[in-house]
Every structure is written in C-alpha cells, then in structure tokens.
C-alpha cells in the first residue's frame, strides 16, 4: 500500500516534471518559426487599438479569438463580415447603437481611434487559429 512519503514524492515529482514541460512548450510556442500571428504586422496603430479594446472592456460583451462574454457578436472576423465603413459608423456614432434591441454603449470614438481599432481588428483577422477561423465566422467565409 502507498505510504505518505510515496504520495508526497508523487505530488512533488509530478508537479516538477509537468511544470518543466509546460515552460519548455511555452518557449517553443513563442519561438519565431512557430509564430502564427504575423507578429511583424503589429504596428503602433494595432497596439493603440488593443489599448482602446482593453480600456473600454469590449471583451465584457463581445468575444475575440473566442474569448469574452457572449453577449455581443464575435469580432475575430468582423472586418470580413462587416467591412470598414459599417464598423467605423458603429464606433464613431454619438447615439446609442441598438441592433436587434440589444444596446451597445455609444463610445463616440474619434476618427483616429476608430482607425486604430480597425487596424487591431485587421491584424486579429489574419491570425492562424488552427481551423477555428473557419468555424467562428461562417458568415464571413460565405462572403468569399
């Protein structure tokens, strides 16, 4: 029968080994040849867009890369689905946006801010998502 000492060795040993593998895989995933995000395309505008995305907690309603709050549409492929004009209008309108009865806060972004967010969405839309890109937005795919 298992002794307490063996049980402790199992806990410490298992934890150490899996943690080291985890660190190794993390380093491997972020090595340059493994990049699926087109990291070289992350411009200053994309970073400003990401800052706006976070500062306004867009993830608190929408999802992106499948992560968020499931209250408002998934935005990974929003550029393909809606196009720049529509998105700009939603971002810049000073009136509450109310599609199908579900309200979005009227952020009233400036032209520059809207451009930055669009740059962010464009970069997001190009990421290789291991097949999820085809599932997440079939509507976008149909437009092709």
């Amino acid at each position: 029968m298992l002794s307490k000492k063996q049980a402790r060795a199992f806990f410490l040993g298992g934890t150490l080994v899996t943690f080291l593998i985890f660190i190794g895989l993390t380093i491997y995933s972020f090595s340059k040849p493994q990049d699926q995000t087109n990291a070289e395309n992350i411009t200053e505008a994309v970073v400003r867009g990401k800052d706006l995305w976070e500062a306004n907690n867009c993830m608190g309603c929408h999802t992106i890369l499948g992560e968020g709050a499931y209250y408002a549409p998934e935005l990974t492929k929003v550029m393909e689905r809606r196009g720049e004009g529509y998105i700009k209008a939603v971002l810049m309108t000073p009136n509450a946006w109310n599609p199908n009865g579900r309200k979005m806060v009227a952020y009233g972004f400036s032209e520059q801010e809207a451009k930055d967010l669009i740059a962010f969405f464009e970069w997001i839309g190009e990421i290789d998502l291991n097949g999820f890109d085809r599932v997440v937005s079939p509507l976008a795919k149909d437009k092709d």
Binding site: L2, S3, K4, A7, R8, F10, F11, G14, T15, T18, F19, F22, L25, T26, Y28, S29, F30, Q34, Q36, T37, A39, I42, V46, K50, W53, E54, A55, N56, N57, C58, M59, G60, C61, T63, L65, G66, E67, G68, A69, Y70, Y71, A72, P73, E74, N100, R102, K103, V105, I124, I127, D128, L129, N130, G131, F132, V135, V136, P138, L139, D142
Partner: protein, 446 residues
C-alpha cells in the same frame, strides 16, 4: 474554536457573504438584460455588470479562503496568530481595494482583460495586501508547535496563488501573448493552486467531521493534489487550442485536460469514503452536507462538464459560446463556493458558541441553492448547445440566434431566484449565529 485569534476569520466570512449577495445582484442584472430588460444600461451596461459579477466572485472566494486560513492555521499550528491587529488591517485593506475596483468599473476604470479587470494601480495594492496576509500565515505556521500536511498544502496553495498573479501583470503588445499569459493566472488558479486550497480545507474538515486518522487523510490529500498538478498544469493547453498559438497544444492540452476530471473524481471518492470510514459522527450536519456536497458537485461541474467541452474536436465548436458559462457556473459553485460555505458552516458555531448544527432553514439553503444552480447550469447548457448549432452549423447571425435562445434565459432567471433564496437563507442562518465571542472558547472546552 481553540484560539482567540481565530475570531478574525468571522469578519472575513462576513465580508464574503456581503460580496456574494452583490455578485448575485449583478448576475440578475445580466440575466434580465439578456431577456431584453436592460433599463439599467445607462448606469450599469452589460460589460460593467459582467466585470463586477466575476470579480466579486474572485474577491468573495479569496476572502473566504483567507478566513479559512485564519481559522485553520492557528488550530493546525497550535498557537495564536502572530498578530490579530495586522490581520484586521489586512481585512480592511482587502475590502477597500475590492470595493474601489468594483466602483471604478462603473466609471470605465478597468483593464478589459477577462477576469483580470482590476486596474494596474490597484494591482500593486492587491500584491501588498496578499503579501501581508501570507506573512501572517507563514509566521504563524513556522512559529507553531507543529507543521501538518493540511496546513502546508493550504499555505502552499495560497502562496502559489499569489505568485501566479504576477504573469497577469506583464504588459504585451500582442493580444495572443496577452491572452496566453492571462491564462497562466486564471487557469493555473482555478484548475491548479486553488484546488490545493480546496484540498487543504477539505482535509481539515474531514479530519474534524469524520474522526478518520490524520495520517490516512493527509496521504490521500497528497495523491489528490498530485493528480491536480499532473493534469492541470499541462491542461492549461485547452485554452490555447484556438487563440493563435502552435498546434502542439491541441495534443498536449487534449490529453492532459482529459485527465483533469480524475483529480476531482479522486476528491469525491476520498470525501465519501472518509465519511463512511469515520467512526465519529460530528453533530454539525450542515458542515457535513456542504463538505460532501462540495466534493461531489465539483466532480460534476468542474470534472464532467469541463470534460464535455475540453477535447479539441468539441471545443472548436463550443469555444466562445454559452457552453463555457454552463461549465463555469457549476464548477465554481461546487469546487470553491461550496467549500467556503462548508468551512463557514463548520467554523461559525465554534466561533460564536451557538450550536445551530441542523436547522430546517439551513437544510433549505443547501437544497435550494444546489437545485437552483443545477437548473441554471442546464439553462446555460441548452442555450449554449442551441447557439453552437444555429450559429456555427446553420450559419445564422449572432443576434438572430440570441433571439431564438432567449427563452432559456427566462429559465435561467427562475432557477437563479431559487438559488438566491437558498443563499439568502444561508445568510439568515449566518446572521442568527451572532458575533464571535471569547466565551465560545469555554463552550468548546466543555
């Protein structure tokens, strides 16, 4: 209660109860908004309600864990806490930081990163607060007469939880990298080190309630936390399938997260077996209900329902849908909310000297909250599966789908009302126990 300083735990538990009520309130705001009743939108838009709901969960659970530690560590280490005054300073600062963050969310002051919305300036205060807490616990433990496995596992869980907060504070330009390290905090908390905390509290409760030999319980505690880390660390990969990182995570995450239910199964079997084996029948029935309930419901919610959408072949359809909310609700309820309610149910009569071990209202609170939460889980599940089919198989527009599934949110709100009636009953029982008193020490000795 064996040591006067354990009384501080009561106030952490009271703070937990207060924040739990607020959490449920914001949950209702979201439920009604999904039904179209969003009259509060101008003051509390959905993203505010959502951030408040999830952050209050984290804070009330942490407050509960901290209270549990302040109750358990003196008893395990067999000495008073090193400083009661500093423990109260820590309590007040925790409440102030938590409330400031929550109020800030109403004024667009946050970092919109799911679960880690607390603004950076407050992050530093959280760190200071947690360091103070850990210093008090560690000093008590090392000055104590004995260092038990239960106390070490609990403390290790709390220490790692603090360390793992750091990757969430690193700034990245890439949304993908940002998300990757955000899961180091969120996943490795809830499917890693928090299970150590849960295991530690569970072991303490089983020792007290069943009378089974400490050596036996603590041996199995090591096996359980061993299984947790063995599966849970590499199981983080299930968050990396479809966010823009290497395919290797599909294999690693798939295999190891499929093993994650084993830790919860072991926890459930362990708790039930120890109960059967135990010769001592502790009169505190409510504590026993919540303890065994936590072990079993966590297996269903975290283990089984997690497994239901953890394989990459399934997750490619369910990722980013209400299916996640289904799993999330029962998992957090079973594993963490119920274990906090269990330790409170055990500690409260000992702290106050009022032995309300088995009251009808107490039993009602257990069953109503559990049945309500299972109903909510089913409502989320049905809505989620319908969403997957309509949106991702039949290619319907997001908002059209939301209209189709809105009926399930009516069920959700109804079940949530039952759940809330259970929680309110629990809090009434909590209130009836009254304040902690030193006289409880004498009651205990008798």
């Amino acid at each position: 209660m064996k040591y006067k300083s354990q009384k501080v735990a009561y106030w952490f538990f009271a703070l937990s109860m207060l924040l739990l009520v607020l959490q449920i309130t914001y949950g209702f705001i979201m439920g009604f908004a999904r039904l179209g009743y969003d009259g509060l939108h101008d003051f509390i838009p959905f993203n505010t309600a959502r951030a408040v709901h999830t952050n209050l969960l984290v804070v009330w659970l942490l407050s509960g864990f901290m209270g549990a530690a302040y109750y358990i560590i003196p008893e395990e280490a067999q000495r008073e806490l090193v400083s009661v005054k500093l423990a109260y300073v820590q309590l007040i600062s925790l409440a102030v930081v938590g409330v400031t963050a929550i109020v800030g969310y109403h004024f667009n002051w946050w970092e919109g990163r799911k679960f880690l919305e607390i603004p950076r300036q407050l992050d530093y205060l959280v760190v200071v607060n947690v360091l103070l807490f850990l210093a008090l616990i560690l000093a008590t433990l090392f000055k104590g007469k004995r260092k038990t496995t239960t106390a070490l596992v609990l403390t290790m869980g709390l220490l790692f939880a603090a360390l793992l907060y750091i990757p969430g504070m690193l700034p990245f330009d890439s949304q993908v990298t940002d998300s990757f390290f955000r899961w180091w905090v969120v996943h490795l908390w809830v499917e890693g080190v928090w299970e150590l905390i849960m295991g530690g509290i569970l072991a303490f409760l089983l020792i007290k309630l069943t009378g089974v030999d400490r050596e036996v319980i603590e041996k199995w505690l090591y096996v359980i936390v061993g299984l947790t880390f063995l599966s849970g660390i590499l199981g983080t990969g299930h968050h990396y399938y479809y966010i823009g990182v290497n395919k290797i995570w599909l294999i690693v995450g798939g295999i190891f997260s499929a093993l994650e239910p084993l830790a919860f199964l072991a926890m459930a079997l362990f708790a039930v077996n120890m109960y059967r084996k135990g010769e001592k029948k502790h009169p505190n029935k409510m504590a026993l209900f919540w303890t065994l309930g936590s072990a079993i419901v966590s297996f269903v919610g975290a283990g089984l329902l997690g497994f239901a959408h953890t394989l990459p072949q399934t997750n490619i359809y369910t990722h980013g849908t209400l299916v996640t909310a289904m799993h999330g609700h029962l998992a957090f309820w079973g594993a963490y909310a119920m274990i906090v309610l269990a330790i409170i149910s055990y500690a409260l009569p000992n702290l106050t000297g009022r032995k309300f071990y088995d009251k009808p209202l107490g039993r009602f609170s257990f069953w109503a909250s559990n049945i309500g939460m299972v109903g909510m889980t089913v409502a989320f599940g049905v809505a989620g599966v319908a969403q997957v089919y309509l949106e991702r198989k039949f290619k319907m527009d997001f908002m059209e789908v939301q209209d189709e599934i809105s009926i399930h949110f009516l069920v959700l709100v109804l079940c949530a009302s039952l759940f809330a009636s259970g929680i309110i009953s629990y809090i009434i029982e909590f209130w009836k126990h009254g304040k902690p008193t030193d006289e409880a020490l004498e009651v205990q000795l008798k």
